[in-house]
Amino acid sequence: MNSLAEPKKWEKFFWPVLATALFLALWHYSVVWTATKIFPSPLDVKKGVAELIHKKVLWRDIIDSLRRVAIGFGAATVIGIPVGLTLGWYPAANKVVNPVLQILRPISPIAWIPVAIILLGVGDHAATSLIFVGALFPIIVASVDGVSNVPSVFRLAGRNFGLGPARLLTRVVFPAALPKIIVGLRIALGIAWLVVVAAEMIAVDSGLGYLVIDSRNSGKRYDLVVAAMLIIGLIGLILDSGFRWLEKIKSVRWGFRDES
């Protein structure tokens, strides 16, 4: 099979399934051969997942985590896009604000945990504000980048057809920057999903992050720990697929891959 050949239909499924099966087998036999008492085998984890579903706490935890992400990420979107569009639109303002942004941006949202707890106490607000901080910067940066890279012909054409500043922004600059903004949102959502788990381990007593730490603390149930980890990974994958699907919408698809 060379890389140019169109994969056959069965191959598209066969190889990923085989890779997954090999991974599970490697995991299973590593547990068996090392005779570890701590780390669970895939079968233990499967039982763990069944137990979590059966106890019904799982759904509450998933919904709590998703709710926190929705609030933090939603607020970051609602604030980040207009701020980014404005800064991209007024390069002078961007020059003023950019140094501060660039210093704040590389700070891990985890480092904000003590600050969030001091300011907002232990609880939901601390968790959502951490997600907000983590998601905000990638959205702002992507929006600024998107606006400042709008080809000048689009702006000139917009002005030529008599568009005022407001219409130019909504009908030319925003749609032209949208593919880059969507990339920023996708990165931000990934970060939000990473941060919610960390925040829930420290600041609250519900959600998937809490499930991980609680399963360890109350009886060293590592089967449940790994089960929760897998569920976190699976939901993260689903969220990301949602954005990949957004990128396929025709009015933004021109901005991806080599289409122009």
Partner: protein
């Protein structure tokens, strides 16, 4: 027209005086980088002249205006809008019925029927260029500025597009100012060819093309006019 960048000033256009009649098709012809696009952008109001002024209908030009639409070399169509959406772009101040009617009319005029709902990435280079012309015509401008509109097309498509443009021009009688560095293109299309020198550009000569359309591009008069411009620009006629 003088450009200033990094403290260095580059004179681009020098002592240009040109008058264009209503409904006329004028080609600005000159070597690459001579400043003909700068002249066109200044006429369109995208740039302000450092000295002198542009007057259209006795009015000094201060900025771009929907009565005069600029057609860019390529990629001027909006890739996030369909063919219909692009043609409709400049019609936001009109009632919906009129918009629909104009969109349908210009889709037909440029031969994009069946592609109304297509997005520009799905169109060929020639179709995109036709779409941009349709978008410009839909707002019913007095003038069109075309900046090497066919420069990125292959030579067969370019020839077809010239015929299309002449057909549209004869139907709509817009004033057209067309920038090109292709001598044949200029002589095939224009009523008058404005030959420009290298930078800082001046007008070397204005050639009247007194051949009626459709032009026979192997007729002696065509070849005579073309060769005259060849010599004017200083090109040898043998390769």
């Amino acid at each position: 027209m003088v450009f200033t960048r990094d403290g260095k000033s580059t004179p681009v256009l020098d002592d240009i005086s040109l008058e264009v009649a209503d409904g006329e098709f004028v080609c600005l012809l000159g070597p690459s980088g001579c400043g003909k696009s700068t002249l066109l952008s200044t006429m369109a109001g995208f740039l302000s002249p450092t000295s002198g002024e542009i007057k259209i209908d006795a009015e000094v030009v201060h900025g771009p205006d929907p009565r005069r639409i600029f057609v860019f070399q390529e990629r001027g169509v909006f890739p996030w809008l369909t063919v219909e959406g692009n043609i409709d772009f400049g019609l936001f101040h009109l009632p919906a019925a009129e918009r629909r009617q104009r969109v349908a009319h210009y889709v037909k005029m440029v031969g994009l029927e069946g592609f109304e709902k297509a997005y520009p990435p799905a169109l060929s280079g020639g179709m995109k260029q036709r779409l941009e012309v349709a978008r410009a015509l839909a707002v019913n401008p007095d003038m069109l500025f075309l900046d090497e509109p066919f420069g990125a097309l292959d030579s067969i498509t370019r020839l077809v597009m010239r015929g299309e443009l002449l057909r549209i021009w004869e139907a709509e009688r817009k004033t057209i100012i067309f920038v090109t560095h292709d001598i044949d293109e200029a002589v095939q299309l224009a009523d008058r060819v404005v030959v420009m020198s290298a930078r800082p550009a001046t007008i070397q000569q204005i050639v009247n093309i007194d051949i009626p359309h459709p032009r026979d591009i192997s007729s002696p008069r065509y070849l005579e006019l073309r060769d005259g411009i060849f010599q004017q620009i200083g090109l040898a006629h043998k390769i």
